[in-house]
Symmetry: none
């Protein structure tokens, strides 16, 4: 589905940026790069910055005009740094990613268009776009590197594609471990309290708020079973020391 | 509020990446860069790639260890490319941005930690993080450039900060209790480790995954200062028992 999405770089000056863009794309699962009149390509700098995304560079299509780059496209979204005099549908990177994926799923061809390093896209080029995409940068310092801009939009495309596959990255694993049950927690608090009395830290006559505080701390930690058995093991060893029993360590 | 968020680069090899990271940060409104043993810095390449974000480079703090870089931090999130043997709370970039902003709004100090260009962060470094952040890249080609990774997380921080702007901070700390800082947590882990050795629970020759598991448990608990002093007090009393010193309890 991502193969329906092409990245178009217009009039790039620095071949290093082409390489950086290729690397960003490949990392995010995009492969189709179209270069409109690059100043210098192929170039050693491009390959160096591509760092393993050479296939994206090798398969890059070099064309003479934006029009050629957009042949067959149904949806064109172009990055725009500045407010334009002509109002145009303006979206953010997230919406750009969602639109790209939705349209790609519908079998359409999509282009993400990036302008020159310093001058961006011309008004004429921007008018070939269905949407302008503005990456919300710091108003006092808005000079995103070209490869960084490709990175942000490619990332949002990937996030949108993972979301439709139902595999959006969320908190994993940590939750996959079995948690101690409430009754195991109670046994732990009981054991902890006894041990704190044993070592002389808790005075049963003046317990203050010690145990409530410990309950609050461990209660909010979602203690896992394996962690619980470590904590219980520590308490057991501590009690052995109090009783003067020989402890495990052999030294 | 974004001034509470620092970007930490560990052992960066290529100064160009430091410059690229600085530029990415400044574009997204971040300013605090901390460099742990950079191979080469300051460097012409860094300034060239920073392209106007020279102030971020000039104000960058260079330190000798990750520990120093994290002094005063309440929340540490480190990028991780690989699946780890010890499961750790794993989040995506979007959640990372949201967490960073929520905690910054609550007045806390946050660090986003990035590893070496090829080797990433070591297991030990990753264990100093509360959360691991995985940028969901193409499984067949996962070699995000360092500056690109900084770009993605900084972008998500910016998106999250724009989302909350003008809105009252949603997540205040339930009770405005002060959290232990990273350096206080390190002193605790150190004390805990020594005590576990003292009571014979931890064999320094075969530590297994005991301390990483303890770091993971307490790391995700947002331990408060008052709780920390209780935990330290328990350890101190336990050590007294091991040394056969008379303990507090009068019975």
């Amino acid at each position: 589905m991502l193969q329906n999405i092409r990245v178009v770089l217009v009039n790039t000056s620095h071949p290093g940026n082409i390489g950086g863009a290729a690397r960003a794309m490949k990392n995010m699962g995009l492969a189709r790069l179209v270069l409109v009149q690059p100043k210098e390509f192929p170039a050693a700098d491009a390959s160096a910055r591509a760092s393993g995304a050479d296939d994206v560079l090798e398969n890059a299509q070099v064309v003479d005009s934006l029009e050629q780059a957009l042949v067959g496209c149904n949806l064109v979204m172009g990055t725009s740094a500045r407010e334009r005099s002509i109002p145009w549908p303006l979206i953010g990177p997230r919406e750009c990613g969602t639109k790209a994926v939705e349209h790609a799923l519908a079998g359409e061809e999509i282009a993400l268009v990036f302008g020159r390093e310093h001058a961006g896209l011309t008004n004429e080029e921007l008018q070939r776009c269905h949407f302008h995409v503005h990456i919300p940068s710091n108003p006092d310092f808005s000079s995103l590197n070209l490869a960084a801009a490709v990175q942000v939009l490619s990332y949002e495309v990937r996030m949108a594609s993972l979301a439709v596959q139902g595999v959006a990255p969320k908190v994993e694993k940590a939750d996959a471990n079995e948690l101690a049950t409430m009754d195991e927690m109670e046994l732990f608090y009981d054991h902890l309290e006894k041990t704190l009395v044993d070592i002389g830290f808790l005075d049963p006559a003046k317990p203050k708020h010690l145990m409530p505080r410990m309950r609050r701390l461990y209660g909010r930690s979602s203690v896992e079973r394996t962690e619980m058995s470590i904590l219980r093991g520590i308490l057991t060893e501590t009690q052995k020391v109090v009783r003067g029993e020989p402890h495990k360590r052999k030294d």
